[in-house]
């Protein structure tokens, strides 16, 4: 009823924690069995270790939050040595989110991490708004995104999902460019660029000034983009942005997603992923649906 089959990913259910909201699984793994999850998208890996931005790194907004973590991670080598072994004893596919400042960084990181058995797919993070050098351009210029996708595809041993930034004029053009460049799938959406100013200090709350807006506030933007893109590409989409419950998951499928990731909601309720996975079959039954795949794109496929 819940199993979905995407390039590289045979998932028992379509619900996974979103990158950066679940670290490398250790913390949430203390709370529940990670095998319950459809997959785990791990925190962005970069070639070298990174500390990220100074604090404060998060700020709350209406029905959302801003973050400017800045890709803090121990670097791909340490991730392979220290974090991935956790998944060897588990039965849950890992999607490795990778990021970088230069093309070369992405390519080397992709090469290394895609060789790992527990890694079933890569998620190419071309959209992190919190990286200063180059990062943003990868996600906003179709030609650059396509070139990066092509290069990463040429070295990756695993399927590559490209994670799109919503901070663009034409999301369909971005999606089509990376599809043509060989992307096996898309992840949509990363955070919207935002800011909050502290009335007391009269300065931006985040030390990085701007941050990425996530949470329920951005769901309408994500749904719109997935609705538009899913009609124009033939690769599957992992949908995300503000998912808080099983109804939201169904809305993403109707829009055109083939799987979903849950980010911010993990902070609100650390058990949210297993809760949604448990709730979904009931919701589908109530709708008279026996296979969640039937819902993909129903809002525009006139059935």
């Amino acid at each position: 009823m819940l199993d979905v089959h995407l390039p590289g990913l045979n998932l028992k259910n379509p619900v996974m924690p979103a990158s950066g909201c679940f670290a490398f699984g250790a913390e949430y793994g203390d709370l529940y069995d990670l095998n319950e999850l459809g997959a785990v998208i791990i925190k962005a890996a970069t070639l070298e270790p990174r500390f990220g931005n100074p604090t404060p790194r998060v700020a709350e907004t209406a029905a959302g939050m801003l973050n400017a973590i800045g890709l803090q991670n121990p670097g791909v080598d340490k991730i392979i040595r220290q974090e991935l072994p956790r998944f060897e004893k588990l039965d849950v596919p890992v999607i490795a989110n990778i990021a970088g400042s230069e093309m070369e960084d992405y390519i080397k990181t992709a090469e290394k991490i895609s060789e790992q058995t527990v890694v079933h797919a890569l998620e190419l993070n071309i959209s992190c708004p919190n990286v200063k050098h180059g990062g943003i351009a990868f996600g906003t210029v179709p030609e650059v995104a396509a070139e990066l996708t092509r290069k990463v595809k040429s070295v990756s041993k695993k399927p590559v999902y490209v994670k799109l930034s919503p901070n663009v004029t034409d999301i369909v053009a971005m999606a089509k460019a990376v599809e043509e460049a060989g992307a096996d799938g898309l992840s949509m959406i990363n955070t919207l660029l935002g800011m909050r100013i502290d009335l007391k200090t009269q300065r931006p709350v985040l030390s990085n000034l701007t941050g990425g807006l996530s949470g329920p506030a951005i769901k309408p933007v994500a749904i719109r983009m997935i609705y538009e893109v899913s009609q124009k590409v033939s690769i599957p989409i992992i949908g995300m942005g503000g998912i808080q419950n099983a109804d939201d998951v169904i809305e993403y499928f109707l829009a055109g997603a083939s799987a979903v990731a849950v980010g911010t909601a993990n902070f609100v309720d650390p058990f949210i992923c297993p809760k949604i996975i448990k709730e979904l079959p009931k919701k589908l039954k109530a709708m008279g649906i026996s296979d969640i795949n039937e819902l993909i794109g129903r809002s525009w496929k006139h059935v």
């Binding site: 913390e27 270790p49 604090t55 709350e60 329920p216 650390p270």
Partner: protein
Amino acid sequence: MRQESMQVIKHGEIADQIFEMKLQGELVCEITEPGQFVHILVDGASHSIAPLLRRPISISSANTSEKTMTLIYRGGGLGTGLLSKTAVGQSVDVLGPLGHGFPVMEAARGGHALIIGGGVGVPPLYGLSQALKEREIKVTHILGFRSAKDVFYQQAFEELGQTFIMTEDGTCGLKGRVTDVLGQLDFDIAYACGPLPMLRALENQITEKPLYLSLEQRMGCGIGACMACVAHTTDPNDSKGYRRVCSDGPVFKAREVELC
């Protein structure tokens, strides 16, 4: 650590915009150290939309046999303002206990511990003082507040040991800052919680004795997964280079992490 819907069994304002809330539930049995905290979801009955994020609040004290714990917090913000309207009998969504608290065992039996707090940094120090007292350690408190109207728990602390109340305007206790009386006191170990400038001053002044500091930081997850709350380690050769306030802290040995 667990997520529990805890019952409010006492709740009231004990100083200007300072609320004391007693909660009952199984979670209390998992508390291991004074200085741990909980992460509270203030629902506002609004399906976790406003406010979206949990609020970190220290456990001030706990009673395992009653399965109760007491929190003391400043109201007035979006989340704490709503929280302050919770009635006795209602329940609150609590995640915890979280983090590592004050190392009580570092104080030698028969020794003398100095406890220094400022504003809403004071609450976790009460449970700490109780625990030290229980281990037969002499405790002295220096508690700083802005003004008389902000002072709380004065008598409770006095029952545990000598207590200096410092107010910025002198309306209660001594006029001045916690560091003003520091030089006159003898002690073996110090514990502190309060605003950053106070902690920095203490790090500069207490260099010969063990000092433990509880830090605050804006949080996302509260359990170590989102990296919102990190601080640089002072040791450039430290293998990780950072600590998470929520899960590695909130209590650190002085000078273990950068205070910024």
